[in-house]
Symmetry: C2
Subunit: 440 residues, 2 copies
């Protein structure tokens, strides 16, 4: 007699994409979840003979949850407030002054919660944050049931919540302690950039992070101006300066990497650091187009990100997937470069590896934590369906996500949030935005 075992959740789909090396698209398949972890992946018929699910969800395509490797969640407050200007002008004349006035802990928490609502609704199950008030961000993320890599921003001038970089280092230590053992929250240190930190502070940050055994995040070679100024001031490119100061090392998350030289690419590859690609933000801020095909060919760990909503202007990772598949084709004139599957891989398994979570999320395999999303393929724009990966890269938008699961918990079911009140989340941000609109 075949006795069925109980499982907490069974997620079935017309197609399951494990994104494990070698495993293809699985038709009419399912994922069984026990205690927040994936217990089995296989055909739905098979799994039903072995598992008795306590709960079930289903849809068209089941795939690992998307991993957003770079962003500033709290910046949803400034979504669309200032567009069509260069990064440096945008930072100095707009973002930093606005944050001085409005980046209070309460406001950052409200903006972060809206970001989380948007991310969960579009299939993102994990995000790296680089911003202020990270203890509060960790609390909000935990409450909303999304996985996060916190990144307390370290900048060489007074920022919200941190009068000095030493205060920021202290905060990082406190974060690391507070969230130790929290299954959803990892801690990193987010050094802002070479143009906002002295080499001494960069080295000091690397040392503190090293002592805690946590990864570093940093903006790297985002604009030509950054690279030119770094060369002028230090005689080195940003990656070379980061290498000299100990910041560029295994586990470090280099955001952007739009203007890397050949030597930079070799240096990053040797270091074991990963790169978070944010092509939409780079276009919008006119920073340029990252050499996605070149970085991929160099074998550098790559993930995708949205950057903050103030420079994107949404947190829809599917746009990042699409641009990652499309831009290299237009630039190189090679239509076979970065095929659909490669772009989806970067958004899932790739991003998990860049955030140091490859052993936990990014693929659907037994033993992994159950972070996944389910796509409703019934829409006109996804009809007919020949190849799931093609639709994911070239026709899917965030609104096609129907369910999202993080750590085995259904946090978004039938397009409704189960862990947050969407209306009050939006209204709180609208209330703050009304003040910002007058104040900036």
């Amino acid at each position: 007699m075949n006795e069925k075992k109980p499982c907490d959740l069974l997620i079935s789909g017309d197609v399951v994409l494990p994104m494990t090396s070698g495993l293809p698209e699985l038709a009419d398949s399912a994922v069984a979840v026990v205690d927040g972890a994936i217990a089995e992946v296989g055909t739905a018929a098979d799994l039903r003979t072995r598992w008795e699910p306590g709960d079930e969800i289903r849809g068209g395509v089941v795939l690992p949850g998307l991993v957003n490797t770079h962003g500033h969640a709290g910046m949803t407050l400034y979504r669309g407030l200032g567009d069509d200007m260069p990064l440096e002008k945008w930072l100095h004349e707009f973002v930093w002054p606005a944050e001085k006035l409005f980046a209070t802990e309460e406001n950052v928490a409200a903006g972060t919660q809206l970001a989380i609502a948007e991310m969960l609704a579009s299939g993102t199950t994990c995000f790296a944050d680089m911003y202020f008030f990270q203890q509060r961000v960790g609390d909000v993320a935990s409450a909303c049931g999304i996985r996060t890599l916190l990144g307390q921003a370290v900048i060489g001038f007074p920022v919200p919540g941190c009068p000095t970089p030493e205060h920021a280092f202290e905060k990082v230590r406190a974060l690391h302690e507070r969230f130790a053992g929290n299954p959803l929250v990892d801690t990193s240190m987010a050094l802002h950039a070479v143009y906002t930190l002295t080499p001494e502070l960069l080295a000091r940050g690397a040392e503190v992070a090293d002592g805690l055994g946590i990864p570093l995040q940093i903006h790297v070679s985002e604009t030509e101006t950054e690279v030119r100024n770094c060369r002028d001031e230090h005689g080195l490119t940003p990656p070379a300066l980061l290498n000299r100061t100990g910041v560029l090392r295994r586990g470090t998350i280099c955001a952007h990497g739009v203007h890397l030289t050949e030597d930079d690419v070799a240096l990053v590859r040797e270091s074991g650091a990963g790169v978070s690609l944010n092509p939409e933000s780079n276009l919008k801020l006119a920073s340029g187009i990252p050499d996605i095909a070149g970085l991929l060919a160099a074998g550098i760990p790559l993930g995708l990100g949205t950057d903050g909503a103030a420079s994107n202007n949404d947190l829809d990772m599917w746009d990042s997937v699409r641009l990652t598949a499309l831009l290299p084709k237009g630039v190189t004139r090679d239509p076979e470069v970065v095929p659909a599957g490669a772009a989806v891989r970067l958004a899932t398994a790739g991003g998990a590896a860049v955030l140091g979570m490859a052993d936990r999320v990014g693929r659907l395999a037994p033993g992994m934590r159950a972070d996944l999303c389910v796509i409703d393929t019934d829409a006109a724009h996804l009809t007919p369906l020949y190849h799931a990966l093609s639709h994911l890269a070239y026709a899917t938008h965030g609104s096609d996500v129907i369910h999202t699961v993080v750590d085995g918990r259904v946090v978004y079911r039938d397009r409704v949030h189960t862990t947050l009140d969407l209306e009050s989340t939006k209204n709180e941000v609208r209330r703050i935005a009304a003040k910002i609109a007058v104040g900036v």
Copy 2:
């Protein structure tokens, strides 16, 4: 006493964007429609004192319906069937063989109806088609209540429904006659390209179209290969050859224009022809990146298009809007080039002008036909709302459209089609696709 006049429909929004020169965003405003035409645009409070509406719809942002200036509607049948290969290979080894087997009149009608469902649901109110069986396409479009510019494809070899180009010319004459007086259907002649038609056939096509007083559509300088081969064979660039054969003239719609020389740009500008930009298709097929900023600066009439769903892979004009605003910034490194409003203008008023319909659609002004769409701005990813145009260019997707109106008729209301049965439309295409999947 103020006596109210009856109007058929009142469309109100938190913001109305007339897209007329000089008129800014109008807050809390509305559009009154009488007999399919716009009777008045103004504040909602004002309009309510003057009009007694028979029907009402409302939403966040009201703007002119999007005009899709280039596509092959019937090709939704092949959506995602063949990706990640160059245009020439894709045409010769895939599209044309597949069409030989499956582009029957019935199948093209089914694929077209699915395309129309997708377009109406994402705010597109008018599309230029370039494909086969255009009489049937005109009938389907009329029945579904979408505006269209038919374009019977003329190619120098036997194609579905047309054994010779002369047959195609005959079909164009018949189309012109059949749809004369149809308020939703205009007719054009769609010469395929310089690489599929001899100079004699190009000239003959121009002559026939001239006799009928209808515009020409043609693919122009889409790939480097097309330009190189044209130079090798004729000693001229495609625009120069089209100029010599009489095809390049006022009203001609040049699709793509990715590889135009400086002389080409001058030639197109002098001719009065318009260009349909299809940046997403150009990226996907690795054709390149059109010089959108340059063409805009040259003062050439520009519209946006999606191209067919086999090379995009959806018909969401908002992706075209976004890429039109983003790509030139990344390429030129100038964040102020093609601002949000300019991209939205190309998708509406710009496209209407390119299709020769500027006197009827593309702007919200008294006397214009009532073609418009309404955006639901309540979603997390559109919160907060500071500037409507910013959201339209950088954060809106097709799924944010809540109502679509064509010629005064609400064809999509509260996200439901009123003129077609979506389920049977999708199922019919799935039935055909099941055969294609086996047959190709």
